[in-house]
Every structure is written in structure tokens, then in C-alpha cells.
Amino acid sequence: MAQTMTAESTRQTPEVEKSEDPVTDCTLVTQAKEGNLEAFDTLVQRYQERIYATVYHMTSNHEDANDLAQESFIKAYHALASFKGDSSFFTWVYRIAVNKTINFLKQRKKRSFMSLNDLDVNVEYDPELVALASANDPRQEVKLEELQEKLNAAMLKLSEMHRLVVTLYDLQGLSHEEIAKIMDCHTGTVRSRLFYARQQLQAYLSDYLK
């Protein structure tokens, strides 16, 4: 599954997907603009996991991520007429989802609570993570869940922009250039935000880092 791949291997994956797919995004967008819902359905299926994951990592809440991901695609469908093709459809729909999520987070600032998804079974086969989490603790599963909670709490302490950079670079595996396009800023800004965000996370999670 795309989400369980490492960040390095998934970097710029959407471009690869686009070229390998028999029907390009551009063709599907043209068909969807003419009201072809099946074409738009294909586009949704192509990017649903990435959009959902981005929103989920930003909110740490499954229900909110579900609503926001759906609303992002609905907004994209209604705004298709304004899509000129200057950027890829992937970048464009990402930008919609990111803006929607940031607006949502600003509104709910005082009532943030977590509704975390379960960890998949593969996590137990990741030796580095197990080593990091267990640390001679026999209750490995409990420890991983606790670590997951601490990690999400630390992520929520970051500002929206810093959290977004970490999400897009470290979790989604996008390149600095792609993130700069999505966030409408320079790559230098992306790099500096990423550095600061990691520094912050390091401070928050110092107890869990050897």
C-alpha cells in the first residue's frame, strides 16, 4: 500500500502514476468538465488515499478527515471549470484539500481532539520502529499505541504550516518543489519550515529519542 512505503520511495510518485496510467489525468479532467461523473470517479479513486492521508495527518481525527476529504473532491468537481491545467490535477486538488483543512483547523482551534486510526499489522514487522518503541518493554503493542498517541499530540502542537510541511515531505513523500507549488511559496521556505518543524518535534519527543 502506498502509505506504508517509505518516504523516499514514494517521493514524486503521482507523476509516475500519471505517466503509467493508460488514461491521463488531463483526459479524465476534460471528460469530467463535460459532466462525465465516471471520469471524475476515476480521478477520485486515483488520489483518495493520498488526500485522505494528508488531511488525516493534519487533523489526527478520522471523522474530520473523512468529511474534509469528501468536501475537497466535491469542491474540486464544482471548480473544474476554473482548472486551466497550469499545474497538474494532483497539485491542484491537493491545494484545495490543504486550504480546506487549514481553514477548518483555524475554526476548531479550541476543540481539537484526536480520533486515531488503528496501526496496521505491518508495524510489528518494522524492526526499527519496534526497537524504538519497545526499549526493553515486553508490552510492545501497548507501547506502540502510546507512542502513536504521543507522536500525534506532538504533531498537533506544531503550527498548521509546519505540520503541513512535515506531512507532505516526511509522510507523503512529496518533493520540496511539489510542496512549494501546493503551498504557493518558495522551496527555500519549505526547507526552512521543515527544519524548524523537525526541531520542534525533536524537542517534544525527546523522551522517545535515543
Binding site: 512505503m5 508495524v123 520502529l129 524504538l132 516526511d170 529519542l209
Partner: protein, 169 residues
């Protein structure tokens, strides 16, 4: 560099988040839910306005109730204000001074032609002098007879009392 080494650990820790997965089968129906919502929105957009209103009430009954309450209170206040205005006007209209204004030729019949007379208009606020309901009436005067030999103008009390206000035809 020690800092980059630490960041490697942070990134390793962050990779735990990539193992967080939504409930099984969640993505199987995700696109169907999106398309269903788009179709529903398009269907609502094609409905007449009252149908859209009903759909809105169905979606958000609390919000609809709140709007309804605000609308009802506004109408209630409007009616109340209108009634109070009507009462003010009718009270004013029924006051003796205004009644006097309405009765044609009353002052003249009473012989109050001098400047010191207590005229009805003196007791009324200036803004009420030109009420919209006061129809345009013009005074008609009897023909004045030429002065007689006694030097009287012929504009005596008796003649004045015959003066009336009548509608111009």
C-alpha cells in the same frame, strides 16, 4: 552532524504514522460516497426554490428553526410598530384641535378672525399641520358687496358666518 542524526530518528518515529490506517474497506466506497453527494447536490440545484428550502430544513433543522424564529420576531416587531404608529395618528386626529381643523369654517363661524384668537393650529406641533389625509380644500368666499353709504365694508359678521370651506369642483 548530530542534528541530522537526531532528525533521522524523528523521521523514523514519524514513519509510525504511515502505519495508521482507516477501517478496512473504507476506500472501497469512498468515491461512491463522493459521487453520490455530487449527484444529490446537482439534483437539489435543479429543484424549485421552495423545494431547496425544504431540503435545507431537512439538512439543518436547528438552523432553519433559528432563522424562522428571527423572521417571526421581525414580523411581530414590524406589526407592533405599525400598530403603534396608527394609534398615534388616530389619537392625534381625534384630538379637539385637529377636529377643529377638519370642520370647515369653524373659526370663521365663531368669528375668530382677529390675530389674537386662539387658533387650533397654535396648539398643534408644526409637523402635524400638513397631514397627508387633509384633502385640498379651498375657501370659497361670498361675493363682497361694495361699501355702502354708511362706510361699512359690507364684510360684516353675518356675512362672515356664511363663509364656508368647500371642495373645489
Amino acid at each position: 552532524m548530530n542534528g541530522s542524526n537526531d532528525f533521522r530518528q524523528v523521521r523514523k518515529l514519524l514513519s509510525l504514522k504511515r502505519h495508521e490506517q482507516p477501517p478496512p474497506g473504507y476506500f472501497d466506497s469512498f468515491s461512491n460516497r463522493v459521487i453520490a453527494r455530487i449527484e444529490r447536490e446537482e439534483e437539489i440545484a435543479q429543484r424549485p426554490w421552495w423545494d431547496k428550502l425544504l431540503a435545507l430544513i431537512e439538512c439543518n433543522p436547528i438552523g432553519a428553526c433559528a432563522y424562522g424564529l428571527v423572521f417571526f420576531l421581525t414580523v411581530l416587531l414590524g406589526v407592533n410598530f405599525y400598530q403603534s404608529e396608527i394609534t398615534t395618528f388616530s389619537n392625534l386626529w381625534s384630538s379637539p384641535s385637529v377636529t377643529a381643523l377638519n370642520e370647515p369654517g369653524q373659526y370663521l363661524r365663531q368669528g375668530r378672525m382677529d390675530g389674537n384668537a386662539n387658533r387650533a393650529s397654535d396648539n398643534i406641533e408644526p409637523e402635524y399641520l400638513f397631514l397627508p389625509s387633509m384633502d385640498g380644500r379651498q375657501a370659497s368666499y361670498p361675493r363682497v358687496s361694495p361699501p355702502n353709504s354708511n362706510g361699512n365694508s359690507g364684510f360684516g359678521g353675518a356675512e362672515i358666518s356664511r363663509m364656508t370651506f368647500g371642495r373645489v369642483r
